[in-house]
Symmetry: C2
Subunit: 244 residues, 2 copies
Amino acid sequence: MHVTSEQRLDVGVLEREFTLGGIPGILWMPASASAPAPLILLGHPPLGLRRMYPRLVDRARQAAADGFASATIELPGSGDRPRMPAVEQARADMRRAMEAGEPVGAEIVDALVLPLVDQAVPEWQAALDALLAMPGIGGPVGYSGGVMSIGVRLAVVEPRISAAVLFAGSLVPRAMFEEARRVTIPLHVLLQWDDEGNDRQTALDLFDAFGSEEKTLNANMGGHTGVPQFAGDAAGQFFTRHLK
Amino acid sequence: MHVTSEQRLDVGVLEREFTLGGIPGILWMPASASAPAPLILLGHPPLGLRRMYPRLVDRARQAAADGFASATIELPGSGDRPRMPAVEQARADMRRAMEAGEPVGAEIVDALVLPLVDQAVPEWQAALDALLAMPGIGGPVGYSGGVMSIGVRLAVVEPRISAAVLFAGSLVPRAMFEEARRVTIPLHVLLQWDDEGNDRQTALDLFDAFGSEEKTLNANMGGHTGVPQFAGDAAGQFFTRHLK
């Protein structure tokens, strides 16, 4: 891991940009931690770290206020990383379907999401190796991010992840329901009830499928990006219960 | 209101039994409150106050720990109050249907629930008049209890109630969906996801119907009476946000 820049944010958070095997990432640490801080991996949609930065840094500040380190990396095919032609093709197919007012077929969803998950998950695991070797980080690991992307797969294959906050998103490949049944870690699932870009029933079905003995669905009003502050606080309390 | 007994519970809660117009009730006050405490009305199923007491006193202790007074009254037809023959008939019809493995028809649900709601709601409003006149109680009022019973109606007709925690229950009369659309106060709805005695889809449909701009669905595992401690805590935080 190669740290490329370091700055102290106004709220007492230390931000380090890094690259790992050519993949850019960002690590946020509470500036005043006395003991090693548990780590939360911040998942995000494949729109590029630069575009996602404002929302990511909000989540990182909240995590730091709760005593957690947090980190994220650029997804395959996003930002300055090489495009994934098959995924780009599926994205174009999806746009065409949506503009024509047609449902997005299961084949398109599979082609859009599964290659991304297959490539991203080992990268996040490698990032976890490097991050857990850093001073000031220690203890259990959480994942916080979109249901559709890599959270479900990581929860299944990565034993170091002890708890996850998942944001219900649309575009869930059929195979993810099978993987969801194999998830056993505590889950806190956030659903924006009237999210127009999201199929509510798919989110409810996926929540139902998770094999975890402790799982909470927290559904709120306010549109896709309008998660209320109190729902963010509840997610923080979930991590505090499980990672400290 | 006639106070019939008073005792200090071990955890610093003052419990007063009372009668009001012949209806028994219980009031719990935080023993060490310095300012008037906001009041939470504790709804419950029509099984009689004596039988419900252990669960009610748990909720009252939690409310007192959060700085709230709480109170409840005996429902019509329950405990030592006169039976309601038409409701008893509907209950017998329901049992027969359930024992025969048949669905409980909408007419049975209406006959079981609506007369109870019609009679209970004015009684709870009268109790509210008397309780708010007592020293040590003041500020906004919350309601916490079963969705099916009187919470929805109270939320519609009683302007002194500012926020409600509703436990998703089965047996929702069809007319309640229309009333739900007229609810505008902040709601926190608790749903036990794998509650065998409860129809999950009905609970989701009712949550969807509520007209409130702020409404949260908090669904958890653990069976009908297995609401996890952290979900109870979240409900307490909801009241703290809205009643203080």
